[in-house]
């Protein structure tokens, strides 16, 4: 009896009639597939983004929040600490991102050369920093950059240079931060460029060689123009990343000395989770959103107009 029931059950599944009765069809199936994403995304991204926008016009008032209009935003642009954070972030952005991307381009071009063997070894070595936790590498750099006993100052002393107060001087702390970020991301960008270079036709370089162009000229007149869309892509990504810089200054310098490495994200974190000033922190977050939107738009525009 049980045997028989099983048989009919199996039959039903494979009969076309049974398939038509099935409530899952190619029409509604995609909605079932995206349902978890949409629910989670609305709960944990869309709702917070809207809620944070509303909060940026509010202020803690006893137990609840009271509407204060643009007060938080006005306060931001009178707040010397916020302006310092803004300046620091842009300083790092303007100097570090071009250096890092240029370095990545040079390494990619060198590694793409026919003269070089063991390409896989180099590629893996350069990519390695990109897989480490920001917290872990920040700690290692903190130790290596110690002013008196750090290994980096030791190497500098071998070259006959003075000790550098990497984490104690207001100028050098910024440089230290930039060195750490460059270490972490150059190889990552290099691998992106290397992937792009595989699509550049070899004949371009050959033609240039015959015309007598040297390696440096080839780099500037062939490699860079050919990779332009990818360079733009990495520029936008690095810009977004730098504007959100948090882990490195949090661990390496805690924003110091004398706020010289205070970044926008770090200031946001301090206001939100040290002083629990949620309205003010939300206003900082929205200034960040607007800046990322504007900078990404400018970068796209600049690249688009040249085509």
């Amino acid at each position: 009896m049980a045997e028989l029931q099983k048989e009919t059950a199996v039959k039903q599944v494979y009969e076309p009639k049974a398939y038509k009765k099935n409530w899952i069809t190619p029409k509604n199936f995609p909605y079932i597939l995206i349902a978890p994403t949409v629910i989670l995304f609305c709960l944990f991204t869309v709702y917070p983004v809207i809620s944070s926008f509303i909060m940026s016009f509010q202020k803690s008032d006893g137990a609840g929040m009271a509407f204060v209009g643009l007060e938080n935003y006005v306060r931001l642009f009178k707040d010397p600490l916020f302006l310092t954070a803004l300046k620091n972030t842009f300083f790092i952005l303007i100097i570090q991102v071009p250096i890092q991307l240029f370095l990545a381009l040079i390494l990619a071009a060198a590694l793409n050369s026919k003269l070089v063997k063991m390409k896989a070894f180099f590629r893996i070595s350069y990519f390695m920093p990109a897989i480490t936790a920001l917290v872990a590498y920040s700690i290692v750099f903190m130790i290596m950059l110690d002013e008196n006993y750090g290994i980096i100052n030791y190497f500098l002393s071998l070259l006959g240079m003075e000790k550098v107060g990497w984490l104690t001087s207001t100028t050098w702390s910024k440089v230290a931060l930039m060195i750490a970020i460059t270490w972490r991301w150059t190889g990552y960008n290099m691998v992106i460029y290397l992937a792009g270079l595989q699509n550049v036709s070899e004949s371009l370089y050959e033609a240039a060689s015959i015309d007598g162009a040297g390696r440096v000229r080839q780099f500037f007149y062939i490699t860079i123009p050919q990779l332009r869309p990818i360079i733009l892509f990495t520029f936008v990504l690095s810009t977004i990343g730098t504007l959100q810089l948090f882990d490195e200054p949090f661990i390496l310098t805690e924003g110091g000395p004398n706020n010289s490495t205070l970044t926008i994200s770090l200031y946001l974190y301090q206001n939100g989770f040290k002083y629990f000033d949620f309205g003010y922190a939300s206003a900082i977050a929205y200034v960040l959103v607007i800046m990322i939107a504007i900078l990404s738009w400018i970068q796209m525009k600049v690249a688009g107009d040249q085509d």
Binding site: P30, S51, Y126, T132, F233, A281
Partner: protein, 275 residues
Amino acid sequence: MKTQKNISKILLYALLIAGVICSIGPFYWMVIGASHTSGEIFKVPPNFLPGSELWTNLKNLDESIGILKVLGNSLTITLIYTALALMICSASGYAFAKFKFKGRDAIFFVLLLAIMIPYHVTLIPLFKMMAALGWINTYQAVILPNLAYPFAIFLMRQNMKALPDSLLEAARVDGAGEFKIFFTIVLPTMKPSLAAVAIFLFMFQWNNFLWPLVILNEQDMYTLPVALSSLIGLSKVDYGQLMMGTAISTLPIMIFFLLLQRQFISGMLGSSVKE
């Protein structure tokens, strides 16, 4: 002509090897440091050879942060997160790549937009939400917010596009249900892409810092990065211990990377680069 070629060869190798020393040097230094005492790490001239304090550092680290508990937290959170996020993101990726449905392009556009939005914007509302639910210091509070990861969905969609429509149609004609097609045809065929995205998700969660830092404030619940950062706040920092901690947080993922570097890199870069 030949000497010129040799000179450029030497210059190239010099440049590349200098790069390798810079990128791998800190890892070597970390492993060496994990086997020395605080004093030995800061000796001038420095030690470049392994020391004898590996075991002591491990014991001290365990006493101050409970390394097994912390490692367990990190592993549990990361593994559950990776499994769930992989299912959710691959399902969505499949829908976006292989079905036409109302609102598809609009939803996909909103997801892409979210890649640009800084994570910090959601931080405070999420924190308030978790506090209201009583979920501060819980695994689910760390896991849930990033499950629908837009970038992973984007990667899955790009990869699923390569799946031939005729294969799916043939299965439908044979009477296979949609779920059956997804689980027995789509997912097995996409194994390499799934592996790459899984690695990307795993690494993201393993290294994740800011959100766990905000939502976890009991030492028993700390993940590895949060526990490490708590060590720096102490008045007297034991650097040997600290190096041991960073080595423990880095070495597993490094070994993982060396074994699977092909998938690793494609997981990090995606197919956006190939186009």
